[in-house]
């Protein structure tokens, strides 16, 4: 796996040049091409009863985005990077998917995206929609969160959350691909508190041993690749424990795998990766099981 080309999706309010520059550590891992995407929401320019399409407004918004992208591109070009840009009118998620496919990017970077309350109720957040539909790794980059700005290199200390329902192989491939920029990897698996409530002490110990063994195996793969990697087994609510673990080990990013689930299945069974992507203060990198 290689991370040569990154799609950087920006509305300009949440992810700006400083956020982009904080990701330049990926150059050590071979990234040499950044593609910008700005999506002008259809409702800002689309037809309204008695008014029609706001062609002038579309032009103005495109011009504003273009000027910003030119400024960013100049900075990156001068550093020897390859840069491309797309400005489109439409719905964010389909545009991200089509540009990611067209440009054959290796990583999508976007801020957390929400919809109106009513729309989220039946359609979920845009972030979840994107994660459900893409086969590319997605970095949900909460660059300026309540706890302040993310540090200089968000890839420095990774917290790898493993759920055995998703093979860790793809996640390890990704982490290995960005080796040059990672300093430390903490690998965590959380046993559900509910799941162990009815087990005897011996059964819990067995479960603990089995999981520690699996964690150790994953950890050894990274140690062989010369990573500073440590395994951790936690018990409790998965989201809370991952968030807690991230803070305990001073992680700069949470990395999770995800299976593609239908929207309804996700609604009923929930999805740890989607929940954390929607709620975590830290950047969350999601590696889909069906990654291409």
């Amino acid at each position: 796996m290689k991370i040569n080309k990154m799609l950087f999706v920006s509305k300009f309010e949440e992810l700006r040049l400083d956020a982009l520059q904080s990701l330049m550590g990926l150059r050590k891992a071979g990234m040499n091409h950044v593609v910008f995407l700005h999506v002008i929401q259809r409702e800002n320019v689309a037809m309204r009863r008695g008014i029609g399409y706001f062609k002038q407004e579309e032009r103005k918004l495109k011009e504003i985005a273009d000027i910003r992208f030119i400024d960013w591109a100049e900075t990156l070009f001068e550093e020897g990077m390859e840069v491309g840009a797309h400005i489109a009118v439409g719905h964010t998620v389909p545009k991200i998917l089509s540009v990611a496919e067209y440009e054959e990017v290796d990583l999508i970077v976007t801020a957390r995206r929400k919809r109106g309350k009513l729309e989220e109720l039946y359609a979920g957040s845009e972030t979840s929609d994107l994660l459900r539909r893409t086969v590319k790794p997605v970095l949900i980059y909460n660059y300026s969160s309540q706890s302040g700005k993310v540090g200089e290199n968000p890839f420095e200390r990774l917290l790898l959350g493993l759920d055995w329902s998703v093979s860790p192989e793809k996640m390890l491939d990704f982490v290995t691909a960005i080796k040059g920029t990672v300093k430390r990897v903490d690998i965590i698996h959380v046993l559900r508190e509910k799941g162990i409530g009815k087990l005897s002490k011996t059964e819990v110990q067995k479960l603990e041993r089995e999981n520690k063994k699996r964690l150790g195996e994953v950890c050894n793969v990274l140690i062989k690749e010369r990573f500073d990697a440590r395994p951790h087994l936690y018990i409790g609510n998965i989201e809370d424990q991952i968030k807690g673990g991230a803070s305990e080990h001073r992680a700069t990013m949470i990395v999770l795998g995800t299976e593609s689930k239908s929207i309804w299945k996700e609604r009923w069974s929930g999805s740890v990766s989607h929940t954390l992507a929607n709620k975590s203060d830290l950047p969350v990198l999601i590696i889909p099981a069906g990654i291409r």
Binding site: V35, D66, F69, I70, A73, E74, F77, E78, E79, G80, E82, V83, G84, A85, H86, Y102, E103
Partner: protein, 130 residues
């Protein structure tokens, strides 16, 4: 004989503008929307001049220019840059590419910052193509 001019440009309005100026000045316009398609058209059509934008999808004009000028069979085709990206950035980016081990490339025949007046472009065409 009419000269073939390739315009590599992702913006449809600018493509229309350039092709109109080209036709009015007796040239045959050939269009490409990004650097990747641009390189294909260069190899197929062997244009007499290339008018090249910088910031484009797929492959930028920076990379395409570098490819053109480091290809012995294509490096003599004159290139005019027509872009909103500054000339300073263009030259620095070429220097940065050279730093990574490639050979030095010459400056483009002309560098026009957008927007360009039709008369200025026409005059430049006459000067380069005769």
């Amino acid at each position: 004989m009419a000269k073939k001019v390739l315009n590599v440009e992702d913006d449809a309005d600018t493509r229309t503008f350039v092709s109109t100026v080209l036709e009015e000045n007796g040239c045959i316009p050939i269009m490409a929307v990004d650097g990747e398609e641009g390189m294909e058209k260069v190899r197929e059509e062997r244009p007499d001049l290339i008018i090249l934008d910088i910031l484009m999808p797929k492959e930028s004009g920076i990379k395409m220019y570098h490819e053109l000028k480091t290809d012995s069979s294509l490096k003599d085709i004159p290139v005019v840059i027509l872009s909103a990206i500054s000339k300073r950035t263009f030259l620095r980016s070429q220097a940065a590419l050279t730093e990574f081990g490639d050979e030095t490339v010459p400056e483009p025949r002309a560098y026009l910052e957008k927007p360009v007046e039709p008369e200025d472009l026409a005059e430049l065409l006459k000067k380069i193509l005769g």
